[in-house]
């Protein structure tokens, strides 16, 4: 049995005499021993490569070259930057990363995105009120909510609960692009101020609507129903309001301006208010 260092190491066979092939080599190994060494080396190479190492390729090198090309086209793990990242296609044979979405969001197809998908709030077909905005405030002279009225819903409900720093009347205005409308609020109201009978009144072309027509320093609860504020037609508002002890107000307002409003401002006629304002949209069933 000959001797070979392969595959653990490379062989370095000693030279032989170029004239007398039957002579020993420079290390003293005989001719036959050198044959054995070479045979052992060849057998070790074969064992390392196995049978048919070229596979379907013409040569082992050709097979390795093909493998290099294939590996180069694979998606590396480094494309992922954080937990929850997704690998998405942006075009044929092209991959990209989609960062993880907001908690609770679902993956939604969107051809406008370069990735073809996006994270979005889950859609629902249940009818009912949808909370659009909610804000607590403290000692505010004016509270405005912008971009709460949109084409998403036709009708809206606004709920207000607040305390007052002084005796005042709580008013409101519709607004668009951050500017309040200060004209053409026609109001019809019925107010029961600590009695069992209502006093009615009519105010036309006012600069605002009145959530509660009676001046009071008591806490207030108000429900407002707005019909089509985000459509460029006059807006109807009905609201009920009650203060802590005495006042009950029932109001109908007709805002005779054909403007598509996107927000509302609540403000006291004097002092400040502290409380919570919520805006809901009425979602119709699909």
């Amino acid at each position: 049995m000959g001797t070979s260092s392969y595959p653990g190491a490379l062989d370095n066979f000693a030279t032989t005499s170029p004239t007398y092939l039957a002579d020993d080599d420079t290390t003293g190994r005989t001719h036959s021993e050198r044959h054995d060494d070479l045979e052992a080396a060849v057998e070790n190479i074969e064992a390392e490569l196995g049978t048919d190492p070229a596979g379907a390729s013409a040569t082992v090198k050709a097979r390795l070259d093909t493998l290099d090309t294939t590996v180069a086209g694979k998606i590396p793990a480094t494309i992922i930057d954080a937990k929850g990242d997704l690998i998405v296609g942006t075009a044929a044979d092209t991959a990209s990363r989609l960062a993880v979405g907001t908690n609770g969001y679902v993956l939604t197809a969107d051809s406008a995105q370069s990735t073809g998908v996006k994270w979005a709030a889950a859609a629902t077909s249940d009818p009912g009120l949808v909370l659009v905005a909610a804000q607590s405030f403290s000692a505010a002279s004016s509270v405005s909510v912008n971009n709460c009225f949109t084409a998403t819903y036709e009708n809206y409900r606004v709920l207000l609960r607040c305390s007052r720093s002084t005796s005042n009347v709580i008013q409101y205005r519709l607004r668009v692009s951050g500017t309040d409308s200060t004209t053409n609020y026609d109001l019809r109201s019925a107010v029961a101020a600590g009695t069992n009978s209502f006093t009615t009144s009519a105010l036309t072309v006012q600069s605002s609507g009145y959530i509660q027509g009676m001046s009071s320093s008591d806490p207030t609860w108000a429900e407002m129903e707005l019909s089509s504020p985000a459509i460029a037609t006059p807006t109807f508002v009905s609201h009920r309001a009650s203060s802590y002890v005495n006042d009950i107000s029932l109001n109908l307002l007709y805002h005779n301006v054909s403007t598509a409003y996107d927000g509302i401002t609540i403000f006291p006629s004097a002092g400040t208010i502290t409380g919570t304002l919520r805006v809901y949209g009425y979602r119709n069933s699909l």
Partner: protein
């Protein structure tokens, strides 16, 4: 505490700021309008009370009692 709180429902951004000079002027006009409306309402109520008292007095000259007036005109007189 700032005068004005503005909330953007689309982005959730909340801005707290003071009134602009224009808003101060509008607020003063609003207060004057509220005062005028309250005074007008008070005037209407005063007139309504006078009319009510006159109606009750006239009904009594005709021999109606408070109970009879209450039946005919609920809320006009307390029984």
């Amino acid at each position: 505490m700032a005068d004005v709180i503005e909330i953007d429902a689309a982005t959730g951004e909340v801005v707290e700021r003071d009134f602009t000079p224009e808003e101060v002027a509008q607020r003063e006009a609003d207060q004057a309008a509220v005062q005028a409306a309250a005074e007008a309402q008070a005037d209407r109520e005063a007139i309504a009370n006078l009319n009510r008292e006159a109606a009750i007095a006239h009904a009594k000259t005709l021999g109606f009692t408070d109970a009879m007036i209450a039946v005919m005109y609920p809320n006009l007189v307390e029984v």
